[in-house]
């Protein structure tokens, strides 16, 4: 019997306002970049939600429950309460916005403070890599920072779909490995990881969203 999904991961997406968190999730879950006038481009209020199935190995699917947080400072206290129930996180900055990169450490600190007693596996995401000419953060320094903080680093673009699938796959695989090793366990009262089911058929609507293969640039 084939599983619909073996695990469900709750992943949180954090980072400064306007770095493109919502657009990244739109691209990943809906397969398109929202137009400029789309409500998806409004600043997120509190938190928004997306979900998608991701095949991390042939026949092994993970359901990703994505919490898209507001970057705006005024919603910060809301965001804080979401760390605890997340197993993984995308820490997104905008490669064309130096300040958003400088805030990465603050975000990480805040997350660590509020995730206790659990842990979050973070992936550092340098977003808007299609805007290479306006780059303010070099790949090297981002990679160095990510190393120092024990994260992986990836550069993405929601606009031209660069590395979007990959970033989600990398994070999901890393978490999956940690579960296999027993470093992360399913726990009652914790929403980070839930075990999946093994029914006969796949929920049609979810199957409709098939992971697409994407080329690396």
């Amino acid at each position: 019997m084939e599983a619909i999904w073996i695990y469900q991961f709750r992943l949180i997406v954090i980072g400064d306002s306007t770095v493109g968190k919502s657009c990244l999730l739109h691209r990943f879950t809906q397969g398109r970049f929202p137009g400029l006038r789309s409500p998806a481009c409004d600043p997120t209020v509190g938190v928004d939600f997306f979900s998608r199935l991701l095949e991390i190995e042939p026949g092994k699917r993970i359901k990703l429950q994505l919490w898209d947080t507001a970057g705006q400072e005024r919603f910060r206290s809301i965001t804080r309460s979401y760390y605890r129930n997340s197993v993984g996180g995308f820490l997104v900055f905008d490669i064309t916005n130096r300040r958003s990169f400088e805030h990465v450490k603050d975000w990480l600190e805040e997350a660590k403070m509020h995730v206790q007693p659990f842990q979050i596996v973070f992936l550092l995401v340098g977003h808007k890599c299609d805007l290479a000419s306006q780059r303010q953060v070099s790949r090297e320094e981002a990679e160095k920072l990510s190393k120092d903080c024990g994260m992986k680093y990836i550069e993405t673009s929601a606009k031209d779909a660069t590395n979007v699938e990959e970033s989600f796959t990398i994070l999901a695989r890393d978490i999956y490995e940690l579960i296999k090793k027993g470093d992360i366990c399913i726990q009652d009262g914790w929403e980070g990881v839930k075990s999946g089911f093994v029914p006969n058929t796949v929920h049609s609507s979810e199957e409709a969203v098939k992971p697409r293969k994407q080329c690396f640039c």
Partner: protein
């Protein structure tokens, strides 16, 4: 005692009778073997009508206003969450209205069933229920209790009661029939049925209960689910797909945090300050006890523009930047679908019967009753999810938005109006859907059509209760905003402390 009495009695006893007995009494009454002893004495039916969690507000007051709280809980069957009851009534009136307008309503169907199929004998019913129970026990550890994915037992019984009443008032004593059908619907459609127990656990929140129920539904192997109750029509799965569960959970978090803050602030107050604050919080709470729907006025359903206009106006009154477009779009899409589904047969009504029949056949091909049912459930799930999203966003903005020239009390009143409006709209939407069903299913057998109609009313009624639950979650949020507006000078922007 007739079966009708049984239903009425079950209604009266709802606070004490275990849910299972309530459902089973219909069968027992006809001297059938009770399928199984109601083993779950700890499951008062009324609990399913309430939020599984203690009301944050009543919790708050528990320490301060014990007497008041007691009164509140006593009244619960009439007001507050017993508000449900009135939904039952409104369902009843919707059902009759459908009968009146379409002429193909439930009683007609029953009549048809009575003449063409015959009402199944009690033995048949019990045999079938036994069979269903047997199947279920196998997979569910011998628990007979057949409950909806969202612990719908009381809902079911409400539906049974109202349907039953309308049938009886129509001069047809066919409650057993409806009862059986309802049992079928539950047994076939709601496999994740141990959830009622989850609902009884007071500590779990609504979103947890719903999430578990949804998980159960996901778990249910689809090959054991019949075509009509295909996963496409599983409200819980759809509700989650539209992110209703997540928004509910997020709203619950905001509600809980606000509640803690309110408590801690109140405990730091004393004397006159405490008195006035309490008084104001009490006023706020009153705005949250929803007035009964005006049941006597037969609500004309609002046009799409009217709905969009009204919801937009209400949101403008809230002075939050929430946007109702998503909700309005989903709602108008649903009505548009219904319009196209109904357009042809209605237009052709004056024409000869043959032509009408031809049209109906054509329509039936276009939208089968299964299509209509699936779309109805989907729409209800989507609208409910959108409504809860709207409440969630409103809560976030009330807590962390710009300061506004509107009081917490005014906002509460507006939100209360909005809740009533949304629930009314769901009621009229479900009415429209059943009209579609009865029109398209004019040639269908009752045992095919009936469960679908019941399911639509049922989920509409559930939807309304989720929206009302979500509305209640806003109370602590508005309470804290009231207190903060009072205690702070408007200029100082408040940084909420961590919890």
């Amino acid at each position: 005692m007739s079966a009708g009495d049984a239903a009425v009695m079950a209604d009266k006893d709802a606070t004490e009778t275990p849910a299972v007995t309530e459902a089973a009494s219909i069968l027992k009454d006809e001297n059938c073997e009770p399928v199984e002893k109601p083993e779950n004495k700890c499951q008062p039916a009324v609990s399913t009508r309430k939020r599984p969690e203690t009301r944050p507000s009543s919790d708050l007051e528990a320490s301060e206003l014990p007497a008041q709280q007691e009164t509140a809980s006593k009244d619960a069957s009439q007001t507050g969450w017993g508000y449900w009851g009135s939904w039952g009534k409104s369902l009843l009136s919707s059902a009759s209205a459908t009968v009146a307008t379409v002429g193909q309503g439930i009683s007609n169907v029953i009549e048809k069933a009575e003449t063409s199929l015959g009402i199944p004998s009690p033995t048949e019913i019990s045999a079938e229920v036994k069979q269903a129970a047997g199947e279920t026990s196998a997979s569910e550890n011998g628990s007979l209790l057949v409950s909806g994915p969202f612990g719908m037992l009381s809902t079911i019984s409400t539906a049974v009661q109202s349907t039953g009443k309308s049938v009886i008032s129509g001069g047809l004593d066919a409650l057993e029939f409806i009862g059986k059908k309802t049992m079928d619907v539950i047994a076939e459609g709601d496999p994740g049925f141990k959830r009622t127990k989850g609902l009884m656990i007071r500590n779990s929140t609504l979103s947890q209960v719903l999430r578990e129920a949804k998980d159960k539904e996901e778990q249910w192997p689809s090959n054991e689910v019949t075509m009509e109750t295909d996963k496409k029509t599983h409200y819980g799965l759809l509700f989650d797909e539209f992110q209703g569960l997540s928004h509910l959970e997020a709203l619950e978090m905001l509600s809980r945090e606000s509640e803690i803050k309110v408590k801690s602030i109140l405990s730091s107050l004393s004397g006159e300050e405490l008195q006035t604050t309490r008084l104001e919080l009490e006023q706020l709470k009153e705005a949250f006890s929803l007035a009964e729907f005006c049941e006597e006025e037969e609500e004309e359903r609002q046009g799409d523009e009217d709905f969009t206009k009204e919801i937009t106006e209400l949101i403008a009154q809230l002075h939050v930047s929430s946007r109702p477009e998503k909700l309005a779009r989903a709602r108008n899409t649903a009505y548009e679908w219904i319009r196209t589904s109904l357009a042809k047969p209605v237009a052709e009504k004056e024409e000869g019967e043959k032509q009408l029949e031809a049209e109906n056949t054509e329509e039936a091909q276009k939208h089968s009753i299964e299509d209509i049912h699936a779309f109805a459930i989907r729409s209800l799930a989507e609208l409910t999810a959108c409504s809860i999203e709207l409440f969630h966003k409103t809560a976030a903005l009330v807590l962390h938005g710009q300061k506004q020239e509107v009081t917490a009390l005014e906002r509460s009143q507006t939100l209360s109006q909005m809740t009533v409006m949304l629930c009314k709209d769901l009621a009229s939407l479900s009415k429209e859907f059943t009209t579609c069903l009865t029109t398209a299913g004019v040639k269908e057998k009752a045992d095919v059509l009936n469960p679908l109609i019941t399911a639509v009313f049922l989920e509409a009624s559930n939807s309304a209760s989720y929206i009302q639950d979500a509305f209640q979650l806003l109370l602590p949020v508005l309470q804290i905003s009231l207190i903060e507006n009072k205690t702070e000078s408007p200029d100082v922007s408040h940084q909420p402390r961590d919890l």
